[in-house]
C-alpha cells in the first residue's frame, strides 16, 4: 500500500497545488516523513520548504504541528497558506486575544495545520490539548535558530526539547532550514532528540543567481555606486543595509532620482511596514532599502536583484539573504559591495550583539539581587538580542559557564567574519568559493556564474524596469471607486 501511496505523490502534488513536478529535494523529504523517519532537510532558499510539510498530511491524515521561532514569520506563513486555499490553518501564539485563543483551543481537532511558538508549547493547558490530537508529524521550521552556532540563535527555541521530552509517543520530527553547518546539524539532531534522522542535505547553490562582488572603497563611493547603478539594474530588488538611518537615506536619494524605492526597518510603525511589504509584493515598488528585519517569511517570486551595502556577518546569513532573489527560477543577480573597512565594522556589530563575560557576571549579580533582566540589561548597556542570549545561558549554565560560552561564541563569530572577509577579498570563481564555505561545490557551470567568471549584465532580464503602478495620491472619491472596483464614469 505504501508503494501505491508514494507512487501517487505527483498526482497529489497536482491536485493540491496545481504543479506538475516536484522541485529538487522536495520529494525525498516527503517520502522520508511518510516512512515515519525523523528528518533533517537542508534545502536551498526558495526550494519550496513549505510544500514539504504541507503535502504529506493529505496522505497521513491527522494534524501537522509547525513550530516556528519567529511570531511574524508564523503569521505570514499561516496567512499565505490560507490564501493558497488551505482553509484549516491556525496560528496559536501570544498575539491572540483570550477569546480567540479559547476558540482555537476548543476547535483544535478541526485544524490540519497548527502553527505555534516554543513558548506556547510550555503552557500546560495548550500542551495538554495538543497531546490529545493525532499529530502526524512535528515540523521545526527555520531549525538553524535552535543552534547557538547559528547566526540567528533563539534560546526560546530550545524549549521545544522540553516539550518533546514530555511526549509519550513522539511522532516523526522534520527539521527544515536553508543553511546549516555541520555543527548546527549536530545541535538540531541533539536538541530535537532525533532518532537516527535521515539527513537530506542539498548544497545551498542557486545556479540562477549570478554572483558579483564590487569594491567601491568607502561608504561615500558605495553611495555613489548605488545611485548610479541601481536605477538601471535588474529589479525588483532588495538593498540590504546596516542601519535604519542608512535605509532611510538611500531610499530617499533613490526616490529623488526617480527610482521607486522605500525603506523598511524595525523602527517604522507596524502599519507602514505592512504597507511597504504589500506594495513590494504587488509590484507598486521596485526597491526596498532594508535592514535584516526584512525578508524572513516574505515570498516574492520575482526578486531579480539583492545588493548588500555591507558585509554580512556569516556565510549562512549571506546565503539566506541573497536567496530571496529568483525564487521563480529566472535569472537573478546578487551584488556584494565590499569596502576594506567592512570586516572591522561587521566584527564590531557582531560582537556588540554578544554579551561579554564582564556584562554576564554583572547581569548574574543583579539578577541574584532580585533585579529584572530587562533593567539589568539596560544598566549593562546590552542589546535586546544580547540580553536574550545572556539571560538564557545564565539560567542554564550559571554566570561562569555562560561567560565561557560567550567567549567560545565570540571566537566562532570572529572566525565566520574572517571567512567572509577572505571570501570578499579572494580571487577566482565566487560561486566556488562561497560554496566551499559549506563544503560544497557547484553542480555545473552556468552561463551567468559570477563577476570573476564574467557576467553579461546586458543579458539580464528586467534591467531598469519601472514599477507598473507607482503610489499616487488620487482624489478621494476616485480612490474609493478604484478600491471597490467601480469603473470611472
Amino acid at each position: 500500500m505504501e508503494t501505491n501511496v508514494q507512487g501517487n505523490l505527483t498526482g497529489l502534488l497536482k491536485r493540491i497545488t496545481g504543479h506538475e513536478a516536484f522541485r529538487p529535494g522536495q520529494e525525498e523529504v516527503i517520502r522520508s516523513v511518510l516512512a515515519g523517519r525523523d528528518t533533517i532537510a537542508v534545502l536551498p532558499t526558495g526550494a519550496g520548504k513549505t510544500l514539504c510539510y504541507r503535502l504529506p498530511v493529505h496522505l497521513t491524515g491527522g494534524t501537522v504541528l509547525i513550530v516556528s521561532p519567529l511570531l511574524s514569520l508564523m503569521e505570514d506563513q499561516a496567512a499565505r497558506m490560507k490564501s493558497e486555499g488551505e482553509k484549516s490553518v491556525a496560528a496559536l501564539n501570544s498575539f491572540l486575544t483570550p477569546a480567540e485563543r479559547s476558540f482555537i483551543l476548543q476547535n483544535l481537532g478541526s485544524y490540519r495545520y497548527i502553527f505555534t511558538s516554543p513558548e506556547m508549547l510550555l503552557q500546560r493547558h495548550v500542551s495538554a490539548r495538543l497531546k490529545e490530537l493525532r499529530i502526524a508529524y512535528i515540523v521545526a521550521d527555520e531549525a538553524h535558530c535552535i543552534s547557538q552556532w547559528g547566526f540567528d540563535f533563539r534560546p526560546d527555541y530550545l524549549r521545544l526539547r522540553e516539550w518533546l521530552e514530555g511526549l509519550e509517543t513522539r511522532p516523526p520530527v522534520m527539521a527544515l532550514t536553508a543553511t546549516a553547518s555541520a555543527r548546527t546539524i549536530e545541535d538540531i539532531e541533539d536538541y530535537l532528540m532525533m532518532d537516527h534522522p535521515a539527513k537530506l542535505i542539498y548544497p545551498p547553490d542557486r545556479p540562477n543567481i549570478a554572483l558579483r562582488i564590487i569594491r567601491p572603497g568607502g561608504r561615500q563611493e558605495k553611495t555613489e555606486w548605488i545611485l548610479r547603478e541601481v536605477p538601471a539594474s535588474p529589479a525588483p530588488g532588495i538593498l540590504y543595509v546596516q542601519s535604519r538611518k542608512r535605509a532611510e537615506e538611500l531610499s530617499e536619494m533613490l526616490r529623488a532620482r526617480g527610482t521607486s524605492a522605500a525603506a523598511f526597518h524595525a523602527g517604522m510603525e507596524k502599519e507602514d511596514r505592512m504597507l511597504v511589504q504589500q506594495q513590494y509584493l504587488n509590484g507598486e515598488l521596485d526597491w526596498i532599502c532594508a535592514t535584516n528585519a526584512f525578508g524572513m517569511g516574505i515570498d516574492k517570486p520575482d526578486v531579480r536583484h539583492v545588493i548588500h551595502d555591507q558585509l554580512p556577518s556569516s556565510a549562512a546569513q549571506y546565503i539566506q539573504e541573497i536567496g530571496r532573489a529568483g525564487r521563480d527560477g529566472n535569472q537573478s543577480l546578487a551584488t556584494l559591495l565590499y569596502g576594506e573597512q567592512d570586516g572591522e565594522t561587521a566584527m564590531f556589530i557582531a560582537l556588540d550583539s554578544l554579551p561579554d563575560p564582564v556584562s554576564i557576571r554583572f547581569l548574574a549579580e543583579r539578577m541574584r539581587e532580585g533585579g529584572t533582566p530587562a533593567h539589568a540589561g539596560e544598566e549593562a548597556g546590552l542589546s535586546e538580542t544580547a540580553l536574550r542570549v545572556a539571560d538564557y545561558w545564565i539560567g542554564t549554565d550559571g554566570a561562569e559557564g555562560a561567560a565561557l560560552r560567550m567567549e567560545a561564541l565570540a571566537a566562532e563569530k570572529r572566525g565566520e567574519i574572517s571567512a567572509m572577509v577572505r571570501f570578499a577579498e579572494g580571487e577566482g570563481c565566487i560561486r566556488e568559493r562561497l560554496l566551499a564555505l559549506f563544503g560544497a561545490r557547484p553542480a555545473g557551470k552556468t552561463a551567468q556564474c559570477c563577476s570573476s567568471c564574467g557576467l553579461r549584465l546586458d543579458e539580464m532580464p528586467a534591467a531598469g524596469r519601472q514599477a507598473q503602478r507607482a503610489p499616487v495620491l488620487n482624489g478621494w472619491k476616485e480612490r474609493i471607486n478604484l478600491l471597490f472596483n467601480v469603473p470611472p464614469l
Partner: protein, 362 residues
C-alpha cells in the same frame, strides 16, 4: 491644523503654569494623576492621548519651532509661556475637532477594521479569493470576518462604498484632506500609502499628517455614530473604554468602594501612599459624586475654590502658600473637583465621555 499649532493651542491653555513635558504627556495620554488633572483643569480633553506613540524627537521639533518663531518662551525654571505673538496666533486658530479623551487611540482599531474590510471587499469585487491581509491582528480579523459575513447576507459590497462616500461628504472635510485620509486604505492592486509617501506627495510633514489623520478619524467617527450608517457603525463598536480608569486605579477604586482606607489600600497592595493618592485623584476626576468630604471639609474646599477663581490660577505651589495647613493631596483633590464643576456645572450625573464631548464642543 499643523501639529505645531495644536501644541500652541495646548500651551495657550496652560499658559505660564506648566513645564514643557505637561503637553507631551497629555498628547501621549499618560495616565498619571498629574496629566489627568491637567486635562481636567485646563479642559484639554480633545488632545488627551491623541498620539499615543508620539516620539520625543517629533515633539521637540515642534516645541523648538515655537521657541524659534517667538511664539512661546521658557522661564529659567522651565515654565512655558505664550508670547504676545503666540497669544495672537493661538486666538486666531480654529477649534480643534479632536476627541482624544473619548477615543484614546482606539480610532486606530476602527481604521484597521475598515482597512481590512475594504481590502476584502475590493478583492471580492474583483473576483479574487486569496490575498494577504493588511493586518495580522487576529482580533481585528475576527471582528471584520464576523461583521462582513453578517452584513453581506442582506447588503452588497457597494452599500459599504455608498456609506463611506455619504458619511465622508457629510463630515464637511475638504476634498484634499479626504484624499489624504483614504490614501491609507488598500485594495486589489492598490496599496495604501506610507506616511513618508504621503508626505512626499502632499508636501506636508509626516507629524502633521498623523495629527490630521487622527482628527479626521474622530470627525468621521462622530458622523458615523450620530447618523444612519449601520455598516460602518459595525467597525466602530466597542471603541469607547467602559471605564475611564487605569487598571491599577480601578483596583484601588474597588477597595475604596468596599470602605478600605487609603493607608490600608496602600498596605494591602504593597504600593506607595503617593501612588494611591494619584489613584484617588484619578477617581475624583472621573467620579462627579466622589465624596470629597472624607478627605477635606466642604467649607475648606469652598474657600480654596474661591481663592483659585480669584487668583485665576491652577498652580499647586501658589495655593500651597495660601493654604499651608492643607496637604498637597487635599489641594489636588479640591482642584480635581474644581475642574469638574467649572467644565460642566453641577448637573453632571454620569458618564464622563459625554461630558468630554460637551467640553470640547463648547
Amino acid at each position: 491644523m499643523s501639529f505645531e499649532d495644536i501644541l500652541l493651542t495646548i500651551i495657550s491653555r496652560m499658559d505660564g503654569e506648566r513645564y514643557k513635558h505637561a503637553a507631551f504627556h497629555l498628547m501621549k495620554g499618560k495616565r498619571s494623576g498629574q496629566t489627568l488633572q491637567d486635562t481636567e483643569y485646563y479642559g484639554l480633553h480633545p488632545f488627551f492621548g491623541m498620539l499615543p506613540s508620539l516620539s520625543g524627537t517629533d515633539f521637540d521639533r515642534a516645541y523648538n519651532g515655537l521657541l524659534e518663531k517667538g511664539r512661546i518662551s521658557e522661564s529659567p525654571e522651565g515654565i512655558v509661556r505664550l508670547t504676545m505673538a503666540g497669544n495672537e496666533r493661538a486666538r486666531a486658530l480654529p477649534d480643534s475637532r479632536l476627541n482624544g479623551w473619548v477615543y484614546r487611540g482606539k480610532e486606530q482599531v476602527f481604521f484597521s477594521r475598515l482597512s481590512l474590510a475594504v481590502q476584502s471587499l475590493s478583492h471580492l469585487m474583483s473576483g479574487i479569493r486569496g490575498f494577504l491581509p493588511v493586518t495580522n491582528d487576529p482580533a481585528i480579523q475576527q471582528d471584520v470576518r464576523r461583521h462582513l459575513l453578517a452584513a453581506l447576507k442582506t447588503r452588497s459590497p457597494d452599500d459599504f462604498r455608498m456609506e463611506m462616500t455619504h458619511s465622508l461628504e457629510q463630515s464637511g472635510m475638504d476634498g484634499e484632506r479626504l484624499s489624504r485620509l483614504v490614501a491609507r486604505l488598500s485594495g486589489n492592486g492598490l496599496t495604501g500609502l506610507t506616511w513618508t509617501q504621503l508626505s512626499e506627495l502632499s508636501g506636508l510633514e509626516v507629524i502633521d499628517l498623523k495629527a490630521e489623520f487622527v482628527e479626521s478619524l474622530h470627525i468621521w467617527l462622530q458622523v458615523i455614530e450620530n447618523g444612519r450608517y449601520p455598516l460602518l457603525s459595525g467597525f466602530a463598536e466597542g471603541l469607547r473604554p467602559s471605564s475611564p480608569l487605569t487598571g491599577s486605579a480601578r483596583k484601588t477604586e474597588e477597595l475604596y468602594r468596599k470602605g478600605v482606607t487609603l493607608e490600608e489600600i496602600a498596605a494591602r497592595r504593597g504600593l506607595k501612599i503617593s501612588t494611591i493618592e494619584d489613584h484617588f485623584i484619578e477617581i475624583a476626576i472621573n467620579d462627579p459624586v466622589f465624596p470629597l468630604g472624607r478627605f477635606v471639609s466642604d467649607d475648606c474646599a469652598e474657600t480654596v475654590m474661591a481663592e483659585m477663581n480669584r487668583l485665576a490660577t491652577r498652580k499647586l505651589s501658589l495655593l500651597k502658600k495660601k493654604f499651608p495647613e492643607l496637604s498637597y493631596f487635599q489641594l489636588r483633590l479640591i482642584m480635581a473637583r474644581a475642574g469638574k464643576e467649572e467644565s460642566d456645572g453641577n448637573e453632571r450625573t454620569g458618564e464622563s465621555d459625554r461630558a468630554a464631548e460637551a467640553d470640547h464642543r463648547a
